[in-house]
Symmetry: C2
Subunit: 305 residues, 2 copies
């Protein structure tokens, strides 16, 4: 077995993922938990990390590279932002050291877009972006990273020119739980997904995005008047929000831009379905692999050997 070289951590808001990486780049061990920033801020980031490092018997001198919300203002150590436009490679620099630890622990910075009209921030996705594209990429790309706060990043010839957050996942969540649509979608999880309703909703809002808040309500009216199923109502809700996001994101994309989807699991399936419905060509990259590759790229830049 190869010798361990470093530890990589993706520290999200509500999730924690850690990989022990060997000298040959392979994953030697992996840990996952719900100890994201929100809970670690109470327990103690140092203690949470130490617990996992002990569990995998990580050698004492191994350095740790961290991305994500551990670098937020309410995180472990504030890691700041790199302002776009900036080269992809600049993400590798600007990592901050965590003081008072026996190990060399570095937290990567986020990205900020300080445009007054279109301000924007990301933290964690920049590492995923780096892992998805690598330091050198050519042409104009729109990288789609769906989630609670979906990110669309515009990259031209290895330079991040700008990005936009669409709060699609969070809107889906609060609309499902706290609005009148909650009545329409209750029970959707027990039914098979309604692909036709999803695709129709994506197409409808993409054609007429200004109708978004009307098309959302139609999930409720459809239940009252036509008895549509919970799965159909949920599909209308997700299709409308995802279709709206794609419509907005493409407004910022120049002709000839290729779409790269960085996602995993259910979100990957939904976005692929949406892109196909809209006849949009795209490349798909697994999000978990991308963040791990990004963390590895940072580790190799910081601790070359």
């Amino acid at each position: 077995m190869t010798n361990p070289a470093y530890v990589a951590v993706d520290w999200g808001t509500s999730s924690f993922r850690l990989w022990l990486i060997g000298r040959d780049g392979t994953v030697l061990a992996e840990r996952r938990s719900g100890e994201g920033m929100t809970s670690a801020a109470k327990t103690g980031f140092s203690a949470v990390l130490a617990g996992h490092l002990t569990a995998i018997e990580a050698p004492e001198n191994l350095p740790v590279i961290v991305c994500g919300m551990a670098g937020a203002r309410q995180g472990w150590v504030e890691a700041g932002y790199i302002d776009v436009p900036a080269p992809l490679a600049s993400i590798l620099t600007g990592a901050v050291s965590v003081p008072g630890e026996s190990r060399d622990i570095r937290i990567l910075p986020g990205l900020a877009q300080r445009d007054i009209a279109r301000p924007d921030v990301m933290r964690g996705e920049e590492t995923q972006l780096l892992g998805a594209l690598g330091r050198a990429s050519s042409g104009a790309q729109a990288v789609c990273m769906p989630g609670t706060h979906s990110k669309w990043v515009h990259v031209t010839d290895s330079k991040v020119t700008g990005f936009s957050t669409f709060m699609t996942g969070e809107l889906f969540d609060v609309i499902s739980k706290h609005t009148i649509l909650s009545h329409a979608v209750t029970g959707a999880e027990e039914q098979p997904a309604d692909a036709a309703a999803f695709e129709a909703a994506v197409s409808a809002v993409f054609a007429r995005p200004a109708l978004a808040s009307n098309l959302l309500f139609a999930a409720r009216s459809g239940q009252l008047l036509h008895g549509i199923s919970a799965a159909a109502a949920q599909a209308r809700l997700s299709g409308t929000l995802i279709g709206l996001e794609i419509a907005g994101a493409l407004q910022d994309a120049a002709n000839g831009t290729t779409i790269t989807l960085v996602a995993s699991g259910r979100l990957q399936a939904l976005y692929e379905q949406a892109f196909r419905t809209l006849s949009l060509a795209f490349t798909a990259i697994d999000a978990d692999a991308a963040v791990r590759r990004g963390l590895s790229a940072a580790a190799e830049a910081i601790w070359p050997n």
Copy 2:
């Protein structure tokens, strides 16, 4: 003092309003409470109404005309819908009687649009619509009735041709309370409203409605990066949602359509500000007066004397 002729009730989801109307049409007494459908369903609609009628010493033989959620499926007596397209005057017919009451109590029906792609419902606003326009109106009008579920109703020559619900108010509510924007808007109520931020947000989303879920997130990014005030963040949120609604509503409006705003209080001020920002001409009608006139029109049609 004129003799009382009938009682008029606007029974909302979370509000109750009652007027004692005289033979000459004047308001002799008024009652307001929070006993909307939600609470009346538990206490008992009959008991709630009886309490208010006793308080105003309404003569025993006076009939009562009711609009709103008392006629919903989870209301007092289900009053059904009139399907559009339909003449405005059809709202006056189709009222259902409440059985087992000593008084003659009628509940007006709602309106339904059974279009498969654009299903929609309203209950209560149809009475406000009738009171705003009267039975006879000419030309093409778009009647805007803002609220939790804003309604835009298209009326041509006294006929309701279609309508659309935009869940603007409800989205504002859940986004303010349950998303990351709650951090950005906390404290807005203690600050003066930020008119410039509101107008900029209306204009921005009206020009590019597909960016709605990105422009909403900008209220958060703006706080993180530029330290915008809570009032500015709240203005961005409301301006984006209201501007999106207007953009969507006008998509359904033919050229030469006049806009009639039926609103009161703070909503009236906000929508007037939005229309002016977008250089859209409009007529404003007070919502409270409109619903009372609509109830009176129904009472005069049902109990002519």
